[in-house]
């Protein structure tokens, strides 16, 4: 029997640079895992509930390439598509939505100018805006977690839990919560981080960073995640979307 109610989403994450998918251990030592449009199509066929792209390129030409990838993906894949990377203005969001993105992720742009979160939510609604938080453990912040930028190399001087709460209050409709400590380790999600943010926000949380085995996902849901995201374990075929969903189902989690 099919279980009813909202399903926990399983989301593959694709770093896109110069039109190709890249993903490295702890965001360094990038390896090429293929064509993003082709990979999106494969993930869709395998039962991915959503796709998240990060256009890591900072150059104008690189961003044009990202727009093109989003356009081509939206023409072939009929599941929700979130796109982030270099988003700083309302116009950046408009551009990505017009290319076919359903949601837009903002990270450093929001830290530099928190008002842009409010502006984007006012113009397009909360449902389009995902606040991406790269968090790591830090004893000097009240929650024990701080916000980082530049792929985890710099501290932003913000408490990660308080920042997620402020983002939601300003109108972000979802928090993409990436543990920079767990990212690339394959040792499991940072469950304490997920639980801490769950206690502070009532918007959906996407847990990211640390997935290594199919058994890693259900604990993140138990800690409060509404969706689970992973990159390298999917790209290199170590885990299949269907196997992750089977493991979640076995653990009593509702999946599509």
């Amino acid at each position: 029997m099919t279980s009813t109610g909202l399903a926990v989403r399983v989301i593959p994450f694709l770093d896109v640079d110069a039109g190709r998918v890249v993903k490295g251990v702890n965001f360094t030592g990038l390896r090429d895992a293929g064509d993003p449009v082709e990979m999106a199509t494969v993930y869709d066929a395998e039962g991915a509930d959503e796709l998240t792209f990060l256009g890591v390129s900072a150059s104008a030409q690189g961003r044009e390439t990202t727009y093109d990838v989003v356009r081509r993906t939206a023409e072939q894949v009929f599941i929700p598509l979130t796109v982030g990377g270099g988003v700083r203005t309302v116009e950046d969001v408009d551009r990505l939505l017009r290319c076919g993105a359903d949601k837009v992720g903002i990270n450093t742009g929001a830290i530099e100018r928190p008002d842009v979160v409010t502006d984007i939510a006012t113009r397009f609604g909360s449902q389009v805006l995902v606040l991406s938080v790269d968090a790591r453990r830090a004893v000097d912040q009240p929650s024990g977690f701080e916000v980082t930028t530049h792929g985890g190399r710099r501290a932003a001087g913000l408490d990660a839990v308080a920042w997620a709460a402020e983002g939601a209050r300003r109108g972000a409709g979802e928090i993409l919560l990436n543990s920079m400590d767990a990212d690339g380790t394959g040792a499991g999600f940072d469950l304490e981080l997920v639980a801490a943010v769950r206690a502070a926000v009532d918007v959906p949380i996407v847990a990211s960073g640390g997935a290594g085995t199919v058994e890693d996902f259900a604990p993140a849901v138990a800690a409060g995640a509404d969706a689970v995201l992973a990159a390298s374990v999917f790209h290199f075929g170590r885990l299949r979307i269907g196997d992750v969903k089977d493991a979640l189902r076995t653990a009593g989690v509702t999946v599509r």
Binding site: T2, A7, F124, V128, V203
Partner: protein
């Protein structure tokens, strides 16, 4: 056999490309436009919408959307509302105590859902009534929702033609209207254009009926 023409009404709302592509895949010849006459004459009209009710309704008024929908329905010409494009078909929307008039095609108010986590974001099941055409063959399928507001009560006066509408329900915190089929006027709170194969099947059914 020529494919039916469908206009996706461009009233300034979000991602229209996915709706355009999904309808084309469902067999329609699709135009995204704000042109009143094109929208009036097309075999089918899709009213999209994301974001706030008031903003969507303001966009609708700019393109004479309420009048357009009314004239099409008077002539029995099909209209499909999607997400906030469905919500604006109702009497009104209540956002933080601010009430905005909708198109008034259906009775009811769009209100914030009482749920622990909002927006209601993701794939949910629906319960469709006996005789539903849009959901024929789609029992048990999930559709993609993303919204915080919804119609929580469907209570048309018994004498009205809306009383014969087929109402599909979903639940997030509480039951809400997930879709309505009412003669030429249909609508879904979820995004069929983002709901994979199940959404494609629903759109194909609608396009085929044009």
């Amino acid at each position: 056999m020529t494919s039916p023409t469908v206009v996706v009404l461009d009233h300034g709302s979000g991602n229209l490309r996915s709706a355009e592509r999904a309808l084309a895949r469902a067999g329609a010849t699709v135009t995204v436009t704000a042109c009143y006459d094109d929208a009036l004459q097309a075999d089918g009209l899709v009213v999209p919408g994301v974001g706030a009710f008031a903003a969507c309704m303001a966009g609708m008024r700019q393109v004479r959307g309420p009048e357009l929908v009314g004239r099409r329905l008077a002539g029995g010409r099909p209209v499909l509302g999607i997400c906030v494009g469905m919500q604006v078909l109702f009497d009104s929307g209540d956002e933080h105590g601010v009430v905005t008039d909708g198109c008034g095609e259906w009775p009811g108010t769009v209100e914030r859902l009482a749920a622990d986590v909002l927006p209601h974001m993701g794939w949910n099941t629906v319960t469709s009534p006996e005789g539903s055409r849009l959901f024929a063959g789609l029992t048990g399928e999930r559709f993609y929702f993303v919204h915080s507001y919804a119609v929580r009560r469907w209570q048309p006066p018994p004498s009205e033609p809306t009383a014969a509408a087929l109402v599909t329900w979903a639940e997030h915190g509480e039951p809400f209207v997930a879709a309505v089929e009412n003669g030429p006027l249909s609508a879904t709170q979820f995004h069929p254009e983002k709901s994979g194969d199940a959404g494609a099947e629903l759109l194909r059914t609608w396009v085929t009926s044009l």
